[in-house]
Symmetry: C2
């Protein structure tokens, strides 16, 4: 008899992947004993165990000691997870929205009930980033984390880097199954910012509401922006980024211009990558598949496996967190607009370039993060924002650190605060 008896919520792409993987794995002492799905009428592969449609089939089953939650609706998932924790069941989930919105409450509830709440699959799919942040960087001083964590956006950007328009690239992504029919969550940056708040919790010990952070997706990028990017030999990457300068933490999601020397330059298509910088280990890059049935199932499986030896996240950095979220930052940006006059809304500290064409204008210069936070970028579709990955050093300020890191050298060691 196996030690871990799993109740599985959700039998979609990842759920059925997990079922397959768990049946094939020889080394794991765990079995799925009950599956609860939502849609009674959806055609499915045959399973050895019957599929139920009532959450109670799992929640009231005392034999089940692990709930794996893989459903789409984050509010339903929240209620399920809460009840499951109260029934002393361990939780494995991939639901970043739910986690971003309720993490502290669920951590406290899990602690109170003596169960583990694990969610490696919620950020960057198969890349073991949460576990590494928890276990491996807990004594080294992390200074920054920068990730391509949304495969859909990265796929679309890869296509647009080839000169294909955003609209056609999105259509192609939808046809290939990389983008949802309603892609808002992905292309407006919300998926990335939810993941960023989870990463910040493990990297810097701070609990941050996603709506506190500048969140700009790729939706507004236009043909004219793509042309600029190509001409200047940049590529665009949607980064979820957080970095520390002394006790200030800066964090945002926005499309960035990267040049060929940047480690993320070649991270294409639906792939994810995360670059971590620490005081002693220096910069490290983790690269792999961020989504898809089997890679995500593989991450879920690792969490299940960790339950076999009673693993729980310890949030060691939370207790020691001296850093505070701050907006006191100046950034080098490109702002484009189909309406020239809207550029004058922005109070730049310094303007380097201004281009005005018949139907498009853009301005490059230094602007404060506070100024960028005033705009609802996803609503103002005439505006495009691109951050420069390589930022100028403000003369009054010292760079974060003097690294000899060559391959990644033009990256975020150049930010400064005031």
């Amino acid at each position: 008899m196996s030690k871990l008896k799993i109740g599985l919520f959700g039998f979609g792409c990842v759920g059925s992947g997990l079922y397959k993987v768990l049946n094939e794995s020889k080394q794991l002492d765990a079995e799925i004993v009950s599956i609860v799905a939502k849609n009674k009428h959806k055609p499915r592969e045959k399973t050895k165990i019957p599929i139920s449609f009532e959450p109670e089939a799992i929640l009231d089953n005392e034999l089940i000691n692990v709930v794996v939650e893989l459903i789409n609706n984050s509010e339903e998932a929240y209620l399920i997870i809460k009840k499951a924790i109260q029934s002393k069941k361990h939780i494995v989930t991939a639901n970043k929205k739910l986690l971003s919105e309720h993490l502290d409450e669920l951590i406290a509830l899990a602690k109170e009930n003596g169960v583990s709440l694990l969610y490696e699959a919620s950020v960057a799919g198969s890349i073991p980033i949460i576990r590494n942040l928890e276990e491996y960087y807990n004594n080294d001083t992390l200074t920054s984390i920068e990730g391509i964590v949304n495969g859909t956006s990265n796929y679309i950007l890869s296509q647009s880097n080839k000169g294909i328009s955003y609209t056609n690239a999105l259509k192609d992504a939808q046809e290939k199954g990389f983008a949802e029919v309603d892609p808002k969550f992905d292309v407006e940056g919300f998926d990335s910012v939810f993941k960023l708040t989870i990463l910040i919790k493990h990297a810097f010990g701070l609990s941050i509401a996603s709506n506190q952070l500048l969140t700009v997706g790729i939706k507004n990028l236009k043909e004219q922006d793509v042309r600029f990017v190509k001409e200047k030999k940049f590529r665009v990457k949607l980064f979820a980024k957080a970095f520390k300068v002394e006790n200030h933490l800066f964090a945002f999601v926005a499309p960035h211009l990267v040049d060929a020397t940047h480690a993320a330059f070649d991270v294409g298509n639906e792939f994810n990558a995360i670059i971590v910088q620490a005081a002693y280990a220096d910069k490290q890059l983790f690269y792999g598949k961020g989504a898809g049935s089997l890679p995500t199932a593989s991450a879920v499986l690792s969490d299940i496996s960790a339950l076999n030896y009673n693993y729980a996240y310890e949030y060691r950095k939370t207790a020691n967190a001296e850093v505070k979220l701050s907006d006191d930052l100046k950034l080098k940006v490109y702002i484009g607009s189909t309406n020239f006059s809207s550029l004058s809304e922005f109070q730049f500290e310094e303007i380097e370039d201004l281009y005005i064409g018949i139907d498009y204008a853009y301005q490059i210069g230094t602007i404060s993060l506070t100024e960028l936070l005033k705009v609802n970028w996803n609503e103002r579709i005439e505006l495009s924002l691109l951050l420069f990955s390589e930022q100028k050093i403000n003369k009054q300020m010292k760079p974060i650190q003097n690294s000899n890191f060559n391959f990644l050298k033009k990256d975020n060691s150049y930010y400064s605060i005031h």
Copy 2:
């Protein structure tokens, strides 16, 4: 009072780095209570605690519960570690030669004495590859691991990729401190093969003596080889590689030709990278600093930190290991020689290219691994061996797996067995 009382053997580059890092770290409940160094006359930075020169100062100190071993001599280290384990002290070491030669014995001894033996720093410095192989891939089926694990060789190769001759690049590396005065260990592939056997233990559960494996370093590479590589737009990377086809495990260290589509193409200078391929997670790349005082100290520190919660490697794959080391493999290779007639020693299965110049000749074709194992490459300095990273599929054989992995697609999914 801290829980972990550390006795430190070796106060060179890494040892003094660890001392610095441990003094700065706020989160770790550990302190160095005794240091044993070798050379009484070497000038050193001042330390708060006196430096001793007798191993007994640590081995006989009952207050010490952790021995961190960072000395060069692997035979001395072996004796120290054995005694320390028998005195019920946990071990943290970075000594790959020692581990490669005595791993199974030391694992058994540590188990018998109820202590942990940890060695993250022994392979790829700051990259947490052993911990990830142990914890994260234990339920996913690993199919291959491929690493640039020797920073010295990679630095020299990076220079030679720029057209600088091996001799000058080595001199430059020695001046910069990336290469030892006696670089044999690095440039003949021994350092890489020691690390490979440690990786194989954690990735595939097999104990392999390093002298069973084809081990070719970069020492023999000549100006003419560098010219060939440049003309064909390849780069050379010294890979330590192990991969599984059904129940056969193939493993070797050799310089490889990689093209611009390979994930390791841009891994330059003293950096390390490891590419792991698993059935579900697919390919993943870990990239970071493989050597140096602080990155290595950071890895040692992670092991010390893990001792705080009684962490020990579990070698889960060892019990289930069904794979056997095999030579039954055909490889596409480039063999160059300053002496044309020596090419005729090799029994190629198929010859694709033969070039004969006044003072140099090379041949490209398919050859068996058994045939390559007959030669002592490091002694036969007239011969250069380069493996093609992209191997042809043998028509009778199916590729290992049908991956959609684009960024890394031209890599080792193409090997085949007979």
